[in-house]
């Protein structure tokens, strides 16, 4: 069973494209809650939300990847467990859990600008559709969100 869990993916839509992330990184899926915006953050940083007493940052994967959002009632937040903390990720629609057949799995295509899309870990063919398997932390650049750069501490005092 656990072997099974390792390989399952959660599929979701961003615009018209289908993506999937490892099920083990997903904590839960919720409807879009009220979100408090945070000033001085990039536009894909939507803000912070309250998840049963825990304050969690919410990011919009669509605007991060430059995909046109598809505003609908299906819009959801996937709470991802990214070590060391959790992040909320806004997607257009959560589809299903995918139990991939390894023969339909192919590695990431090596393209010229592979630096820009190195968050894609593989491609899965499901009937006529293609599902991109991605590393959510890389896709969000979660370790370095490129937020306002910190300047040295001393000058602040002098000001």
């Amino acid at each position: 069973m656990s072997d099974n869990d390792q390989n399952r993916y959660l599929c979701f839509m961003l615009g018209k494209e289908e993506y999937a992330i490892p099920l083990l990184t997903v904590r839960e899926v919720i409807a879009v809650p009220e979100i408090t915006p945070v000033p001085q953050t990039p536009s894909h940083f939507v803000g912070i939300m309250n998840l049963r007493g825990q304050v969690i940052s919410v990011l919009d994967l669509r605007s991060k990847l430059g995909i046109k959002p598809n505003a609908s009632a299906d819009t959801a937040v996937i709470i991802c467990d990214l070590h060391p903390n959790s992040l909320g990720v806004i997607v257009d629609k959560v589809e299903s859990v995918l139990n991939p057949d390894p023969t339909h799995l192919s590695p990431r295509p090596q393209m010229e600008n592979s630096k820009a899309n190195d968050y894609v870990t593989g491609i899965y063919r499901k009937e006529e559709r293609l599902i991109l398997l991605i590393d959510i932390a890389k896709a969000l650049g979660a370790t370095d969100l490129g937020l306002a750069a910190r300047t040295s501490g001393e000058q602040k005092k002098a000001a």
Partner: protein, 627 residues
């Protein structure tokens, strides 16, 4: 965390406690060198450390502790006289153990070279013990430098023949470990991820962990990110059983009320309902207070460490200093205790170095030759106060003025009061000591102390009388987990300003604001001109530019000025409205937001939505830089 790592983590936790215990014994031993029972106790501690470190798979640590234990044994049997020299060596061993543990905390595979210290232990002879301790010989654990006290036994005789047997024992210990003293060993020691077999690695070449002396306790976020696959050991805290029992009782009560409430949801007895809600409110408050108190620990351990600092510092300086401790049972939040250590060490050293005079000077001034440093803690007005008082030199305001002129901190002709002059010691890059000593006076001290204390929402003040001594007073909040906050509105969004930062809040009336070219706005508060900064601008709130909240900067009135008074510069911050004043529980922001500026955390407001807590000082400084 798997079982083995859990074992290691709990071992490290335990050993840290043991080492602190040992240190106390050492200092007591110095006072009563004849008391063999103290040696027995230290021996027991060392033995415990040795046994369990091997049991959980810290081979190198075990090897070193074994040598330490051997040394202790020889003190116990009377082979070595217990003299200050011996105690200094024992303390150096204890320090080394401490550093080792600290390194292991960061990385379970860390190794700290023990060659030098082992060399010292092995070359220690009964004759050495009788040599009068020279000041240099006392090891000074320095917060900023990681150096083994070296070359102390350079002039030693070669070890006499009697030590051959000892060397044999050690040689045998170099073999992969095979001792069956502890039944757990054989099971646990096997899966250890390749403990380095050579217990004496080349010096410094294999320091895998960050130099432990430079990194105090693993700091919340930073340390967790480091260390790759080995997760940082989870921090733990000791809690008195009675508190836990009370907590469990209250939670039990809460559950009962919840049941009553559930029944009422379908019933129709408004009186009973109201009463239940009321009682539930009381119990909730109790539970909140109790659960907060679980985070509180006494200052005892932190204070006890200072004994050692005073001992080492004064012996290096050839001064006689006595440390008086008061109020060590005072409790404070664990996170505060952790960040308090370094500043305290600095203040104590400073008192010994700059404050207390040499015995000759003291006698000449008609004071007893032993100086007194008094370290006291108490609660006052919902805050923790720590006082460090010395009966030494005091601080000469005139000398500080002169020094400040020389360093260009003051302009010629600039007049400052004595009080302001004394506060110059907190200025970056300021040290009046003519000669930089190894103890203090590198000029990086007091401003760092001040910054550290401010980082935990504290303040530091100093009172001094020339010739009579100085008192440093550190004022700290009791907890960092809950603050009293002012909820303000700026451009539709709500923010929380810690009430501790707010001096007053004033409604801005027409005519109070004066736009000044190139300087923004001046707010006139009872004839005092204050620079006014608009929160919406500080935060670059996008909607501020739009129609909704837009006010022309020179428009009169409207909104509220939050007046902040800092030592550097008082100022006012404009907000649209004050929503209320609440006690809020601080929620940390994720690491993905650590690079944002001006937010101290977040808190969930009454309606369940989170709001950001503003650090005005940081925000204002930042926006000024950006401008």
């Amino acid at each position: 965390m798997d079982f083995e790592q859990e074992l290691k983590a709990s071992f490290l936790e335990e050993v840290t406690g043991l080492l602190e215990e040992a240190e106390r014994y050492f200092l007591r031993l110095e006072e009563n060198p004849e008391d063999k029972s103290i040696l027995d106790q230290i021996f027991r501690v060392a033995h415990n450390v040795k046994g369990s470190s091997r049991a959980v798979g810290f081979e190198e640590l075990g090897t070193f502790t074994h040598k330490f234990e051997t040394l202790l044994l020889r003190c116990k049997t009377g082979e070595f006289a217990v003299t200050p020299t011996t105690i200094s060596l024992l303390l150096a061993c204890n320090d080394h153990l401490g550093r080792f543990i600290e390194a292991l905390r960061g990385d379970f595979n860390a190794s700290v070279p023990s060659d030098e210290i082992i060399q010292r232990i092995e070359s220690f002879t009964p004759a050495d013990a009788l040599v009068e301790a020279s000041p240099n010989e006392a090891s000074v654990p320095d917060a900023s430098a990681f150096e083994e006290p070296a070359e102390i036994h350079a002039a030693d005789l070669p070890p006499p023949a009697a030590f051959e047997s000892e060397a044999d024992i050690l040689a045998r210990l170099d073999q992969p470990f095979v001792v069956a003293a502890d039944p757990v060993v054989s099971e646990v020691a096997t899966p250890v991820p390749t403990p380095s077999v050579a217990p004496t690695p080349p010096p410094l070449a294999s320091v895998a962990a960050p130099t432990p002396a430079a990194t105090p306790s693993p700091k919340a976020e930073g340390a967790k990110a480091a260390g790759g696959n080995t997760p940082a050991p989870e921090e733990s805290i000791r809690v008195s059983l009675s508190r836990l029992e009370r907590l469990v009782n209250f939670v039990g009560e809460l559950v009962i009320f919840q049941t009553v409430l559930q029944e009422q949801a379908y019933g129709s007895n408004p009186t009973l309902l109201r009463r239940t809600v009321h009682q539930m409110g009381k119990v909730t408050k109790e539970i909140q207070d109790l659960s907060m108190s679980l985070r509180m620990v006494p200052l005892k351990q932190t204070f006890q460490k200072m004994q050692r600092i005073v001992r080492d510092t004064s012996s290096v300086l050839n001064k006689k200093v006595k440390l008086q401790i008061e109020g060590e049972e005072t409790e404070v939040d664990k996170t505060i205790v952790e960040s308090l250590g370094d500043p305290l060490v600095h203040l104590i050293r400073n008192a010994c170095d700059h404050g207390i005079e040499t015995p000759e000077e003291r006698v000449a001034r008609g004071k007893p030759d032993t100086g007194t440093v008094r370290l006291a803690a108490f609660h006052r007005g919902g805050r923790l106060v720590i006082e460090i008082k010395d009966d030494g030199n005091g601080i000469d305001a005139n000398r500080l003025r002169q020094k400040a002129l020389e360093k260009g901190i003051l302009r010629p002709g600039q007049n400052i009061s004595d009080r302001e002059a004394v506060n110059l010691i907190f200025h970056a890059g300021f040290s009046t000591k003519a000669q930089v000593t190894e103890v203090s006076g590198r000029g990086v001290g007091m401003d760092v102390v001040k910054t550290n204390i401010e980082a935990i929402q504290g303040e530091i003040e100093v009172e001094t009388a020339v010739g009579q001594g100085s008192t440093f007073r550190v004022l700290l909040p009791l907890t960092l987990a809950i603050i009293e906050g002012l909820v303000v509105k700026s451009d539709q969004d709500r923010f929380i300003i810690p009430l501790a930062h707010v001096h007053e809040s004033v409604k801005i009336e027409a005519g109070d604001l004066h736009p000044v070219a190139n300087m923004g706005e001046i707010f006139k508060l009872r004839d005092e001109p204050l620079p006014l900064l608009r929160l919406s601008k500080l935060l670059n709130q996008k909607r501020a530019a739009g129609a909704a909240g837009a006010r022309k900067p020179n428009e009169d009135g409207g909104g509220i000025a939050i007046v902040v008074r800092t030592q550097a510069q008082p100022y006012a911050v404009h907000v649209d409205d004050i929503v209320g004043q609440h006690q809020v529980v601080i929620k940390k922001l994720g690491t993905e937001m650590q690079r944002t500026h001006g937010f101290g955390g977040s808190a969930i407001l009454g309606d369940g939505r989170p709001a950001l807590i503003l650090e005005l000082q940081e925000l204002v400084g930042f926006s000024k830089e950006a401008a």
